[in-house]
Symmetry: none
Subunit: 232 residues, 2 copies
DNA sequence: CCGGTGCGTGAAGATCCCGTAAAAGTGGCT
DNA sequence: AGCCACTTTTACGGGATCTTCACGCACCGG
């Protein structure tokens, strides 16, 4: 059965959507906060997500970005905000559709069908990546080393995420800088050295004998580890 | 370049959309009737269609159905009708999004990007080239020889890429120098000797008995290997 | 037969980039 | 305000890479 995840902080909305969706044959799960929503997206493996932007704990676009780090599941945003800037931000963060409250249920169901029709080839990458003694939980943004939780700063985590979600690929300085720091930082390659150093230290990796992060001089960095570590 | 087909009977709308889309780097075609639109969708092979529902000759949903009979191209409907029934009909006929006029151009562009992003993964070329024991993964920027990763410097890789992406073709000194080092290096043919030498050494090739890189004296170099090894 | 030209080869010097540490700046919290 | 965590900036050795130089050799035409 098609699973729908509803993320909204208002119980009334959750109940209304649950009822309508269930009566049309959908399997409905709900979450009341952004954190719960991201975790639910990872563990429930929904086929589509309805996301309210006005969540108490996380910014809506942040929820979209986090879900997008491990899943291509269709996301339909529900929001009271009708400003263009909000729509553009949400859509560019990775949302597939944006519906302004109040909405008609028939229209919502039609948009739901349209998105499901497109997303047919469902593929869900695992939300927890394992590399030997290192685990990265993309949904909870939790990193553990040898079972011990490892504290990373926001920037460190963003860099690690960019690396582990592109294993084996050579990521150029420019690409990493724009991914982690945003546009306009393409020249700040010193940032990369500083934060790669911090990551290597915390992950127990060494630049001279890399097991995780390989330096490609003059070009960028490469995450070497994962499902296909060629045997000696 | 990304091709957009605009189907609308009002010349003003067509012109406005053409201008806005073109200024954002899209290649725009237009049609003024439903028939023209369907033909344009079939012959132009657009990457996305903007479709006005209020066409004089055909009903909007009929246009969608006809296009859908031969193409999965994303369709974004533009309409003055705000009734739920119209939206449901269009979406269920096969449209991917429905925007009510008047609309903001920023929002429209964001929805356009969202649809294009979804339709993206249709082109996945075999980015890995094989030559006997040598593999060149252009996407990952990874070179392996007999299964072992081979470390190449930035310049060495650039030269190798220029060679393997033009197999069998005679590449002149000037062409290679400009491709790898950029304009202004057309005379530095010594660079080529030095780096061709380095590549041959790392790839296990010999100038006297070339299996990969052939010297064409006085002219340039030629990559000889792969699916189409030119006859002597 | 002989000099010129271009290529292959090795290696030295210069330059750029990386790793690393630590100081300075920033913003949040009590 | 003052502390704390984090980010940004500065500084500096060491190493990788690029650039340049030198030399031997093959080929070619005179």
């Amino acid at each position: 059965m098609t699973r729908i995840l509803v993320v909204d902080d208002e119980p009334q909305i959750r109940r209304a959507l649950r009822t309508s969706l269930a009566s049309h044959g959908y399997d409905v799960q709900t979450a009341g906060t952004g954190e719960e929503g991201v975790v639910g997206a990872a563990e429930g493996g929904p086929d589509l997500i309805f996301l309210d932007l006005g969540l108490p704990d996380l910014d809506g676009t942040e929820v979209i970005r986090r879900v997008r780090s491990f899943s291509d599941v269709p996301i339909i945003v529900l929001s009271v905000r009708d400003r263009q800037a909000d729509k553009v931000a949400a859509l560019d963060a990775g949302a597939d559709d944006y519906v302004t409250k109040p909405f008609g249920m028939e229209e919502l169901l039609a948009r739901l069908r349209a998105q499901l029709r497109r997303a047919q080839p469902e593929e869900a990458g695992p939300a927890v990546l394992r590399f030997d003694e290192l685990e990265v939980d993309l949904a909870r943004r939790l990193v553990t080393l040898e079972g011990e939780p490892l504290h990373l700063t926001k920037t460190e985590y963003a860099l690690l995420e960019a690396l582990v979600t592109n294993p084996g690929k050579l990521l150029t300085h420019q690409w990493l800088l724009q991914k982690v720091w945003g546009r306009g930082y393409a020249e700040e390659s010193q940032y990369l050295r500083v934060y790669v150093r911090a990551l290597r230290r915390k992950l127990g990796d060494a630049a001279s004998a890399p097991r995780l992060i390989l330096t490609e001089p003059g070009v960028g960095y490469r995450w070497i580890a994962g499902p296909e570590p060629g045997p000696s």
